[in-house]
Amino acid sequence: MSILVNRETRLVVQGITGNEGSFHTRLMLDYGTQVVAGVTPGKGGEWVHGVPVFDTVREAVQTTGANTSIIYVPAPFAADAIMEAADAGIELIVCITEGIPVLDMMRACQFLEDTDARLIGPNCPGVITPGQAKVGIMPGHIHTPGPVGIVSRSGTLTYEVVKALTDRGLGQSTAVGIGGDPIIGTSFVDVLRMFENDPATQSIVLIGEIGGTDEEQAARFIASEVSKPVTAFIAGRTAPPGQRMGHAGAIIEGGEGTAQEKIAALEAVGIRVARHPAEVADLVAERL
């Protein structure tokens, strides 16, 4: 078992003919992901790395039975791509694109409320179930199958933690990057609930950062609903208020969203918070 993606994942790549889309399609195929279709409006009929390209997501779904989509579409058009995927009946949409306007994302999220689709991201590295499917841009080789579920707002910081886990012999059930934007489709709480219900996940790692109150909500949820051990890491203790730290969502505003508050909220409900990425692996190992 695992969550979100597995061997049954049938992936359509939106924006497959672009540089990034084509490059990562190759890497996902190499990893063993079933990439069944690509979509670029106007380029239907072409092929990319042996994958057929369609003009619309609907056509791709009808022809290939795709159930999951990954989006590499440029920011000005990405929200539309999300809505197109949902309208075509895609169940899981993973949006890699960074820099989508906030208003576009709020509209897309409102649109998704009337559909059954789940959105991961945007501005995220994607989702990987080691040994089964890689739906994202993360380096596949640092992952190994195992019992640790990971949910994170960050990209390379997650790789750092995954590498530390793998180096210690601690494999991962699924690693989910929920994205560094202020408006994202799936929250910590959503993913925590899935990990709690996933028999393959025995321990959970939560990687947060400054900005918003998603970590505080996660702390409350863990206290009441999660029975599995949770280890956390929060980046940005040294971040100054009022400054955006790379991610659009990583900003301390109106005195809200500091790392100190988030760490305190997590520790208050008994969650162990690591001081640096490598220590996450130590803390996970202690309780497995």
């Binding site: 750092e160 040294t238 109106g254």
Partner: protein
């Protein structure tokens, strides 16, 4: 991108929101001229992108053109929270009966814009939310359908407004919503929204923050960028598409990925060092971008040690190494000690490229941070008299 008060009010006026008559000035003589044309008592307001202008002496009343000139002389050139004042806004003074608040922000949790109103304004809304939460009313807005008249009207009734104020309040709420959506704002705020002694509503102060990610479709707004308020390092970072934030330490950091960049700064701090900056080169950076990033760090005279932390994936370690070498070669000042940690895609090639260069290699993030902190403290001891 934050807009100045005068810029925000110009946008407000375009959408029919009532604002005081006024204009900006960059010299005391210009200020005098503006006041003369307006006639009567005016308010002279420093235009800087920070709060607390009043307390800092950046807002003054003037009863005529002469006093305006003197007020402008005092305000232009002063520093408010470290920001220099280049412009003042001169506006007709308003006789205020009541100060209210109206703003639209992005509610991250509900993924919707939210309108916030209060019958009490003129103070920071965060402060009011903490001390008098019952004074604040919130209305989530459906971003696909927009704000309806009846919703705006309901807010007016919640605030206890009645009679002739309901219609203008509703019109202002609708106008502010249009300002928010049509300009891709992440914040549009009127504080205070005043009721004058004649019973008119007027936006006495305005604040707009635009979504940087949406500026591509608002090129006219992009021109409002405050270039005078930007440091040289910020300008270079913006042009090279780098995320850079100056901090007050002495260890210059360059990392790929925002989360990892923050974690690296935190680790430096954990070992007793102080980061000089946040710098994220993003994903898949090529050599020229890496070189631009190193140039920014090298130009910071506070930097005693440089710490490079790269976890390669779509960013390739050999590209990073090439960029570092190029920038070191072009450097006009001596390059401080540099600790480099490269892992992931093409790390071997990257290390080989740097083998001949004078850098200190580290394999783990902890080792890299410890070495950088040791070097920085050694440097400061050497420099002590």
């Amino acid at each position: 991108m934050k807009l100045h008060e005068y810029q925000s009010k110009r946008i407000f006026a375009r959408y029919g929101l009532p604002v005081p008559q006024g204009n900006v000035a960059t010299t005391p003589a210009e200020a005098r001229q503006v006041a003369h044309l307006l006639g009567g008592p005016v308010v002279v307001k420093a235009q800087v992108l920070t709060g607390g202008r009043g307390k800092a002496g950046g807002i003054k009343l003037a009863k005529d053109a002469e006093e305006t000139e003197e007020a402008a002389r005092q305000i232009i050139g002063m520093f408010i929270k470290g920001l220099k004042v280049y412009k003042v806004l001169i506006e007709q003074a308003t006789d205020i009966a009541q100060e209210m608040y109206m703003g639209i922000v992005v509610d991250r949790t509900h993924r919707k814009p939210i309108m916030i109103v209060s019958a009490q304004g003129g103070i920071e809304i965060e402060e009011l939310a903490k001390n008098r939460p019952e004074m604040i009313f919130r209305l989530p807005i459906d971003p696909l359908r927009g704000l309806m008249d009846y919703q705006a009207r309901n807010l007016a009734f919640e605030l206890g407004l009645h009679g002739g104020l309901i219609r203008p309040f509703t019109a202002i709420a609708r106008g502010l919503w249009r300002v928010f959506v049509e300009n891709d704002a992440t914040l549009a705020e009127i504080n205070p929204l005043a009721i004058t002694s004649e019973g008119q509503l007027i936006a006495l102060d305005g604040k707009i923050t635009l979504d940087d990610n949406a500026l591509f479709r608002h090129l006219e707004l992009n021109e409002m960028r405050d270039l005078q308020g930007e440091t040289e390092a910020q300008r270079q970072a913006r042009q090279a598409d780098l995320s850079y934030v100056k901090l007050d330490g002495d260890i210059g950091c360059m990392v790929n990925g925002a989360g990892l960049a923050m974690a690296t700064m935190d680790l430096v701090d954990l070992y007793g060092g102080r980061p000089a900056n946040f710098l994220d080169i993003g994903g898949g950076a090529r050599a020229n971008k890496v070189a631009a990033a190193l140039h920014i760090i090298l130009a910071d005279s506070d930097v005693k040690v440089i710490l490079i932390n790269i976890f390669g994936g779509i960013t390739r370690c050999d590209e990073v190494a090439r960029g570092l070498l190029a920038a070191m070669e072009e450097a006009s000042t001596p390059v401080p000690p540099m600790v480099v940690r490269l892992v992931g895609a093409n790390e071997e090639q990257g290390r080989q490229l740097l083998a001949a260069a004078n850098v200190i290699n580290a394999t783990s993030l902890i080792e890299a941070a410890q070495k950088a902190v040791e070097l920085a403290s050694g440097q400061s001891q050497m420099q002590r008299p």
